[in-house]
Structure formats: C-alpha cells, structure tokens
C-alpha cells in the first residue's frame, strides 16, 4: 500500500536504487536476439608466449601428431574416394608395424576369434592348417617351382609370403594360436594385396594363376 505510486503506473517490487539505476532513468534496451557469433572485442588478445621452451614444445606437438598417425594404434577407417587417383600414392604408403597386445593382461573376450571366415580361400587356409600341414607346404613348394619356370616373378613372391604364412601356422597346433595365426595370415593377405585388378579370391589354390592369360590373349578363357 505504502509502496504504490499511483494506480496504473508501473512500479517495481524492489528498490531500484539498490541495483544501481536511478529513479526515472532510461533502462537499457531489451535484448531481442542472441549475441553475434563473432562480436567485436574492445581488447585484443595478449600475444602468445615465445621462447625456446615454447618453440620446442610446439615442434614436439606437431611431430607427435604425425608419429601417432603412423603407429599401429591408429586404426584407419576405410578411406573415402580421393578426388584424383594418384600414381605416387601407391609408393607413399606408410608401412605400419603390427601390434599384438599382451593377451595375459586383457580379458579373454578381447582375443579375436574368427569362427566364420570370409571366402573360400581363407577357409581352405584354415582347414589345411589344422590338417596335413606338411603336404600343404610341399604342394606350395612345387607350385613355386612351376611358376618360377614360367618367369612370373610377381606371383611367386606372393606365393612365397603365403608359404611363410602357412608354414608359420603349421608350427602352431593350438586352437587359440591357430585362430591368431589364421588372423595373421589373413592380415598377411590383406597387407600384400597389390593394387591391381586381380581379385585375390578369384583364383583358388592349386589353379594356375592365370600365367597363361597374360600371354595368350587370342585364346578364349572359359
């Protein structure tokens, strides 16, 4: 009652002077929209610290960033299509060491377990690994000799690596280890996959690796 200034007139419920506005003074404008995204600042930021230590840490930071990308811990996502295919890209691929964690320190469920394999070739690899490993090696060696005679240098290299991979497997008989090695062998294949038009799973083991098809183009292939 005592606080009413008169009917119909706006009155504040509190003492406006306590907040710092004088009576009857024009109040600042009401804000109608969000503040600008990049407001002008009256005060420019202080320049960065510069010195030996700071420079060194900067260089370290940038180096670390590059190094981390090359470490095996950096898991690549399948790359999006590049704008232009570059020939030199093929020769600048970074060689990444493989990292195998210490399984003794990790929960058992962490170990990769591949029950279903992706393709006839890999299935064969797993089967032959468990069974007659010696004959498999012998077969492979024979194939290598054959191919060497035909002078197909590229393919024999691939055979070589496969032989290494499967020999490795024949040493380890354990199931768990088998899985690991099988995974390693798969990794082998992927790593050695060359960027050419041949799909790896197209040719089965034991078939001639199209050594003919390069030479005799006039013959029809069935």
């Amino acid at each position: 009652m005592a606080g009413n200034k008169g009917r119909g007139r706006a009155a504040y419920t509190f003492n406006i002077e306590a907040v710092g506005f004088g009576r009857g003074e024009k109040l600042p404008d009401v804000v109608l929209k969000p503040p600008p995204l990049f407001p002008d600042t009256d005060y420019k930021p202080v320049p960065l610290k510069a010195g030996e230590g700071e420079d060194y840490m900067l260089a370290l930071k940038q180096e670390l960033r590059e190094t981390m990308k090359r470490m095996p811990y950096y898991i690549e996502t399948p790359e999006e299509k590049q704008d232009i295919e570059r020939y030199s890209k093929r020769y600048m691929k970074v060689y990444k060491e493989e990292w195998i964690p210490d399984w003794r320190r990790l929960p058992r469920e962490m170990m990769p377990r591949k029950k279903c394999k992706k393709g006839p070739k890999s299935e064969k690899a797993k089967d032959t690994g468990k069974g007659t490993s010696l004959t498999n090696t012998a077969d492979v060696l024979k194939k290598i000799e054959e191919l060497e005679k035909r002078g197909d240098g590229e393919k024999s290299d691939e055979e070589n690596e496969e032989k290494e991979g499967s020999k490795e497997k024949s040493k380890e008989g354990d199931e768990e280890e088998d899985d690991d090695a099988a995974e390693q062998e798969e990794y082998d294949e992927e790593e050695q996959e060359e960027e050419n038009d041949y799909i790896n799973s197209y040719f089965e083991d034991g078939d001639d690796f199209g050594a003919d098809s390069d030479d005799n183009m006039d013959e029809a292939t069935y």
Binding site: T13, F14, A18, M57, L106, R108
Partner: protein
Amino acid sequence: MTQAEIKLCSLLLQEHFGEIVEKIGVHLIRTGSQPLRVIAHDTGTSLDQVKKALCVLIQHNLVIYQVHKRGVVEYEAQCSRVLRMLRYPRYIYTAKTLYSDTGELIVEELLLNGKMTMSAVVKKVADRLTETMEDGKTMDYAEVSNTFVRLADTHFVQRCPWVPATENSDPGPLPPAPILVISEKDMYLVPKLSLIGKGKRRRSSDEDAAGEPKAKRPKHNTDNKEPIPDDGIYWQANLDRFHQHFRDQAIVSAVANRMDQIFRSLPVGYNISKQVLDQYLTLLADDPLEFVGKSGDSGGGMYVINLHKALGSLATATLESVVQERFGSRCARIFRLVLQKKHLEQKQVEDFAMIPAKEAKDMLYKMLSGNFISLQEIPKTPDHAPSRTFYLYTVNILSAARMLLHRCYKSIANLIERRQFETKENKRLLEKSQRVEAIIASMQATGAEDAQLQEIEEMITVPERQQLETLKRNVNKLDASEIQVDETIFLLESYIESTMKRQ
C-alpha cells in the same frame, strides 16, 4: 562430464587414434561402464572393431576393465586421462630439461606406446639416439638403462599393475579377465636386467628406394627370437609426479617474481648468510600472498609452504588476468577490489574504485553476466522483500575457477577444430607440396643436378608458396595456443582439486 569435455576428448581421440577408437571411447565416456556386447550394439560397430579399439584404449591407460558378478567384464573410460593427451609435449619437454635427450626419448616412447617393458624402451631409445649420432658412434644400452633407473627412482616412471604370479598349478576354469594388482613398495622397483648392447642404426638397404612397394617387405622382424628377460613387467609415465613438478615450478616462479618486485636491488647469491635468509623468510611469511607460513619457533623458526593457499593465489591471479584482458583495466580494478573486500554494495564499489556510477554499474553487470562476480542477497526482513534486501557483490573463487576451466575446454576444442579446418581447406595444396618434396628427396638420393631440382621446385608457384607459408603460420599459432591454454587448465584443475580435497 560436461559437453565441452566430451567434445574435447572426441577431438583428441580422433586425432591420435582414428575414428573407430574415437567412437568407442566417446561412447564409453558418455555412458559409463559397459560390457563388450552392449558397446558393439549401441555404437553399431562390429565386435571385432570394438575389440581392437578397446585393446588400444586399454594399452594407453584410457580405459580400464572390471569383472562383475557372473563373469561379466565391464569397460570404463577415464575422461580426465584422455584430456591429459594435451599435455604430452609438456611432459616430454620437462623430461628433457631434467634428464636430457635420453630421458626425453624414454618418456616419449612410454607416452606414445602407453606401456612398455624396460628392455623394449631401452632398445628403442638406444636405436633412436644412435640415429642422431655421428657415423660410427652408437648409444650403449647401459647409459639408457641408467637414465631409466633414475627416472624410476624419482618416480617419473612407474610400474603398471601386474598379473600376480599364481602358485597353484591347477588350471581350473580360467577367470574371464586377469585381476591386476599393484603394491606401493614395488611400484618403482626396477627389475635386475643385464641389458648389454648398443643401438642399431637403420641400414640404408633397409630403407625403401623409391618405387619399391613396401608391401613386399617381410612382415616379421627377425630379432625378437630371444626371450624377453623382463617379460610381463610394464612401465608407464607417472603423470601425477609430473604434475607435482609443474606445481612446484609454478609456485617457485610466482615467489621469484614477488621477490623481484620487492628486492630488485638486493644481490642474490648462493651464500646467503643466516640473517639474510631470516629476513627473506620473514618477508615471505608476512607477504599477503601467504605462500609461506611460520608454524612455530622450534629450531629458530619452522616455515611451511601452504600449498593450498599457493594454488589459490595462482588461480586468483589467473582470474584477475582474464578479467583484465577481457574487460579492461578498470574492470580489473573493480574485480580486485571486490576480491579484497569480499562483499561490497553497488554504492561502495563506486566509492572505493573511484569510478563514476554509470560505468561502474556497466562493468559490474558485464562481469556478473560472465559469471566472474556473483550477487549475494542479505535480507533485512524475514519476508525477503527486495526493497529491504542488501545485494552484495562478491567473488566466489571456486565457482569462477570452474567456469573458467569449462571455458578453457571449449577454447581448446575450438582451436583444434579451426586447425583441422585450415588443414582441410588446403589439403590439395599440402598433398601437392608433399609429393614435390618426395620427388626432390628421391632425386637427390639418386644424384640430380641443381637445375633439375629447381625445375621440380618451381612446380609450386609463388602464390602457392605464400599460401603454404600462411597456413604454416596459422597452424603454428593454433598449436601454440593449445599448449598455453593447457597451462591455464593445469593451474585451475590443481586449485579445484586441492579445494575439493579439503572439504
């Protein structure tokens, strides 16, 4: 975890480990502890990839696992540990200042790999140091070992929790996950190894000549046939110890500045006589900063460093500095005034600061909306009527520090995003310049004339070079800013942690 922290963690994980690890890591930070299958289901990622990502995260001490009842293993992310990745350059540089290049590389290898055995670290560091030495010289393993032992003795590196050696030969059902143990007394115990050898230089025949696809190289190194003597004993960098060092550094430099202010004319030598030392200590104790307190007269006077107060002062100084740089020196004066007097009314602020009412009001409100200052209500009557209530301005250091810390996280996230944007914008140009460099390098290796080299260099035009220069300058600035904002983060976090501990 606040949104700002999660965003920053996401950027850091993605830069260092790629998108898959980032997806899993961020998911765990958001949701808390989860088992393997739930993670795969919720993120829509294949089980295989989740396993790989978790292995990486666990290796780097960013995720821990716990076995719950019924054998379910749950994984939990440590958000604050992820944020520490910002500080890696500082840790490595500190190791360099304390233990020179050898120490620097040891800490760098440990940070890059998360955990390593001592033998692996020594070998890797010896190889790296040998690379930088003159032809014919190599780094001996013993020297690296010594530095490692020193780092362990001063607690800058520590052992990771280990799998306890089980005495029972009865296999029984294997537990779903090993329970790792750690004991205080063994945490810095260096295994007795006799590491003999020298660092190996990478032979030039090992390096690929340009043109040879790297896929042809045999995958397996032939030199890990010998059994590892300290198998299973892993080491990691002890970040807390580094933090202790940073804190001490900050306090020492703050005090040094203070002493400089007061005693610029006095000579400071190593042989300070007892009297002079007494004077210094008294001055320090009486100093309003209250870093050093006198806690009794036994032995001629016991002086104690009040760490919490020291951290508080540092945090307050940071706040003052921010207010000054953001709002101007008159605002800063008002801020310091309110800090000093604890609670002030509007009118009192105007009087004490000697600033006209209108400006003072404006400044106070600016700081209020920025949450540097807060209003405290003191009612005169029980009905809290606004016309009969005191409104006092005050600075709540803890909450202002929290607000500023949150802002720092946002700032760094913005800096990283901007840097990535700048790099992406110039991606094509960067790739071109990398290719040109690769070509020049291979040409130099095979012996090319200067004229040819120059021709190749001219493939990058002058305006392109300028663009690259600008890009480099900008990226450097952004990177340097990140490092410096992290310094502020460290101070504020230390203060907040110290305050929370006392409550």
